[in-house]
Assembly symmetry: C2
Homo-oligomer: 446 residues x 2
C-alpha cells in the first residue's frame, strides 16, 4: 500500500522521526491543539456531561490537523514518516504512531521495548500474515532480544479467562520476568486480552500494541481499557493499563476483510456524532473512499479518531463521566453481542445498530431533529453496517444485559444520547423511561 | 479480649476517632516520624539497596510510637480507640485501624464504604465466626446498604483462577456495579484474592480489608499487593491495588489456631531483621507474651510491623527496589511452598525456614557475624517455627522454582540478604554463586 506526502504531519515537527517531512502552511480552518468539544459541563453528581457551549484554549499534547478537514484523500502521505498522536496521561503518556510501512522501521518499535524478553500475543488469523514481520522488527539489529509468541484462537468468543490463562501459561513456562515486554499483534480482542495479561502478569509488565484492524486502531488502542468477557456480559473483568506505545502500520489493513473494515468505521462514525461534527461531515463526503480503502482517507480517519479518543481519555482516564460518552451505542450494542452470542456480529456491527437505537431514543426525547436521524442511517448504510439489531433480540434480552452494564450506578442505567446540534451528546440517567421502552419495542420483539 | 489504656496512641491525635484518648508525654527514646532505616542507598541499575548509613529527617505520615519500645505488654490499650497507621501513597493513601472491639463500631467501617452495595468475600472457616458480625457492622444504622457474600474454600491451594472466578460470578450475578465495595474478611489468601477481584471487576471497585490473622494484619493488609497463584509459582498473576481502609480488630485473633499465630510472627520477626533492630530486641524479650497472646504485645507487634511495612511501601509502592527487601526469606520460602505443595506448610512457616537459609547464605558471604545467625535460630525456635525446609526439598526443586521468581531480572536472581549489624539488609544480584549453592546443599537433598 503505497502512499506519499502526508496531509497530517503538521504541527508534529517535534515528534517526527525524520526531518524531511513536508510542513504545510496553517490555514484559517484549523483545530490545532484545541479540543473539539467546547465548554464541557461536567457534573458527576448529576451524572451527565454536556459537550455544548464555548470555552476555548485547553491546550493538550494531542495535536490535531492544521490542514483542511475535507477532501483529505486528495493529499498523499509520506511513506515511512509516522504521524504521531500523543496520549497525555502524565507518567503514563504514550505515543500512537500512524503510517505506512512502520513495521519496516525496527527502531520505532525497539525504542519502546524494555528488557531482553518479548512475548508476542496474536491469533491464528494474524500470525501467518504478520508474526514473522513483527519478530523481524523486534530483533533486526538487536540480537540480545529473544521473542516468544503465543497464538490464540481468533474471535470474540475466545475473549475469556480460559484463553487468557494460555498467555500466563506461556509467559510463566518461558520464565519471563518483570522486565519483559508483551506485544499485542491483532485486533481488539487480542489487544484487550494481551493488555490485561500484561497488567496482571507479575502485577504488571511493559506492553506494546500493534493493532491490525481499523477497530483496534481507532478504539481499543487508545486509553488503556483491557479485559475479558464473562458469560453474563462483555468486558466485566479487566484493568486500566496503558501501553508504552501503539504502532499502527496502515499496510496491515490490506489484508482486512470487508466486514471488519466496516465494523471499524462504526467507531469512526461515532466520534463524529458525539463530539466532532466536521469530522462527521468529512466522513459523509469520503465514505466511498474509506470503503474503497483509499490509504490516505483511512490514515486520516484513524488519526482523527485517535485524536478524539485521546483528548477524551486525557481528561478522564478512569471513566468518571466524560469518557463514558465514547460508548455511544455500546450499551445497546453490548446487549446485542451478549444476547446474540459473542462472535455472531462483529463489535462495530453491534455498535452501529446500537447507535441507531440511541439516536432513535434521543429523537423520541426531542433532543435531536430528524435530519440527524437520517444522516446516521445514511452513512451507516453506505458503510454497509446494520441499522437495526438482529431479529432474534427481544426487549427482555436487552433489559437483562443492560442491567449489568458497567454504566449502571446504584441501580440507575445511564446512557449516552445525542442532544442538540450534530456533534453533541450527554451521558445521563436523567431521561424519560418511556422513551427507552419505546425504542426497545420499536427495535426488538416484545 | 479486654484491653485498656493504649501505649500506641501517641502522636496520633489528629487521627483519633474519639477525643478522650490519653496523650502520653514524649520521652527521649523516640522514633516519632523518622524512618527506621537511615541513608537508603538506592541504585536501581546496580539492583541493590543498602539500608546502612545515616540520613535523617524524611518525614512520613506513618507515625511511630513515641513510647519506650521495651516492656510494651506492661501497658494496656484503650478498648475501642483504634491506633491508626496511615499508609502514605498520595491519592491512594489509606488508614489501618488497629484495636480491640473495632467491629463493634459500625461508623468506622461505614465511613469507607462507597455506594449502596457490598460484597463480603470470606472463607468457610471465617464465615461462621465473623461474617454476621461484619454484616451487622456494615448495616447497623445504615439500612440503605445491601450486603452480599461469597464464601470460598479455605486454604492457599484455592488461591487460583477457578476460585477467583467464583467471586466474579457472584458479583456479576448480584448485578453489582462500579459503585460497589468489596470487603475481604479473612487471612492473606482472602485478602489477596478479594483485592485482585476488586482491582479487576469492572476494571476496579472499592475495596476494604478486615484481616483476621496475624499474617494478614502485618503483611498482606499493607501495600496493595493482590493476586493469585499459578501452578508453577506463587502470586504470579495479580495487581497493585490499594484498599480504602484496613480494619484490624485484634479480638479476631482469639480464634486463631496456634500454628497460624506463629506463622504470622515469622513476618513480624522479618521486620526486625531487615530494618528495625530495636523491634527485634523487643521481640526477643516479648516472644513468650506474643505466643501467650497477650493482647497488648500482639497489638504492639502488629502496629510496629504495619508501620515498618507502610514506610517501605510509601517509598516504593511498585517494588522498584526497596520494597523487595520485605521479601527476606521469601524466595527460598516460595520454593518450599511450591515444591512441597501449597497448603502443606503455612506461608510464615516457609518464610521462617527461608529466612534461616538467607541468614545462612549471608553468613557464608561474610556479611553478618555468628551472633545474628544464633539469634535468628533462637527466636524462631521460641516461636515454634521451622528452622529448615522439609526433608522432601531438593536443590533442583529450589532452583527450578527460584528461576521463575518475580525478583529475577534479565535472568539474574536477586536476593534479600542481611549485611552489617542487626537490622540491615541488601537486595542484590551481586553475590558469589558459590554461597547460594552451599546454602542450598546445606539445607536440602542434592
Amino acid at each position: 500500500m503505497a502512499s506519499t506526502a502526508s496531509p497530517f504531519s503538521l504541527s508534529l515537527s517535534a515528534k517526527q522521526t525524520t526531518s524531511s517531512a513536508p510542513q504545510k502552511p496553517h490555514n484559517n480552518y484549523s483545530y490545532v491543539c484545541f479540543p473539539r468539544f467546547q465548554n464541557p459541563k461536567f457534573d458527576l453528581n448529576r451524572s451527565w456531561v454536556s459537550l455544548a457551549g464555548a470555552s476555548r484554549g485547553v491546550r493538550s499534547r494531542i495535536c490535531a490537523s492544521s490542514a483542511q478537514v475535507v477532501d483529505r484523500s486528495a493529499t498523499k502521505t509520506d511513506s515511512g514518516v509516522p504521524t504521531i498522536v500523543e496520549v497525555d496521561l502524565g507518567d503514563r503518556s504514550y505515543p500512537i504512531y500512524i503510517g505506512s510501512g512502520l513495521l519496516d522501521q525496527p527502531e520505532l518499535l525497539q525504542r519502546h521495548v524494555k528488557g531482553k524478553r518479548v512475548l508476542v500475543v496474536t491469533n491464528t488469523t494474524v500470525a501467518p500474515l504478520y508474526l514473522d514481520k513483527v519478530i523481524d522488527a523486534l530483533t533486526t539489529g538487536n540480537p540480545n532480544v529473544s521473542v516468544e509468541s503465543v497464538i490464540l484462537p481468533d474471535g470474540e468468543r475466545y475473549k475469556d479467562m480460559d484463553t487468557l490463562m494460555k498467555v500466563f501459561d506461556k509467559a510463566i513456562e518461558s520464565r519471563l520476568d518483570r522486565r519483559c515486554t508483551f506485544v499485542a499483534l491483532g485486533g481488539g480482542v487480542i489487544g484487550d486480552m494481551c493488555g490485561f495479561a500484561a497488567a496482571s502478569f507479575l502485577r504488571g509488565v511493559n506492553f506494546i500494541q500493534i493493532p491490525t484492524t481499523v477497530m483496534a486502531q481507532v478504539d481499543s488502542s487508545v486509553g488503556g481499557k483491557t479485559g475479558i468477557n464473562h458469560h453474563l456480559g462483555k468486558n466485566l473483568i479487566g484493568a486500566f493499563y496503558q501501553p508504552q506505545c501503539v504502532l499502527v502500520d496502515t499496510d496491515t489493513l490490506s489484508t482486512l476483510p470487508d466486514r471488519e473494515l466496516a465494523s471499524g468505521l462504526a467507531e469512526v462514525i461515532k466520534y463524529g456524532l458525539i463530539r466532532d461534527a466536521e469530522f462527521f461531515e468529512w466522513q459523509e463526503k469520503n465514505i466511498h473512499a474509506l470503503m474503497a480503502r483509499d490509504p490516505d482517507a483511512l490514515a486520516y480517519a484513524i488519526k482523527r479518531s485517535c485524536e478524539n479518543k485521546a483528548e477524551v481519555v486525557s481528561l478522564d482516564e478512569k471513566e468518571s463521566g466524560l469518557r463514558a460518552t465514547l460508548n455511544l451505542g455500546h450499551t445497546f450494542g453490548h446487549a446485542i453481542e451478549t444476547g446474540f452470542g459473542y462472535g455472531q456480529w462483529l463489535h462495530g456491527e453491534a455498535v452501529a445498530a446500537g447507535m441507531v437505537m440511541a439516536v432513535d431514543m434521543s429523537h423520541r426525547l426531542g433532543w435531536i431533529d430528524d435530519s440527524i436521524v437520517k444522516r446516521v442511517h445514511n452513512i451507516l448504510e453506505q458503510a454497509k453496517l446494520p441499522t437495526a439489531p438482529p431479529n432474534i433480540m427481544t426487549v427482555d434480552m436487552f433489559k437483562s444485559v443492560m442491567a449489568v452494564d458497567k454504566k449502571v450506578a446504584d441501580g440507575l442505567l445511564r446512557l449516552i444520547l445525542l442532544k442538540g446540534p450534530l456533534g453533541n451528546c450527554v451521558f445521563t440517567g436523567d431521561y424519560d423511561r418511556k422513551a427507552l421502552d419505546e425504542t426497545l419495542h420499536a427495535f426488538s420483539q416484545s
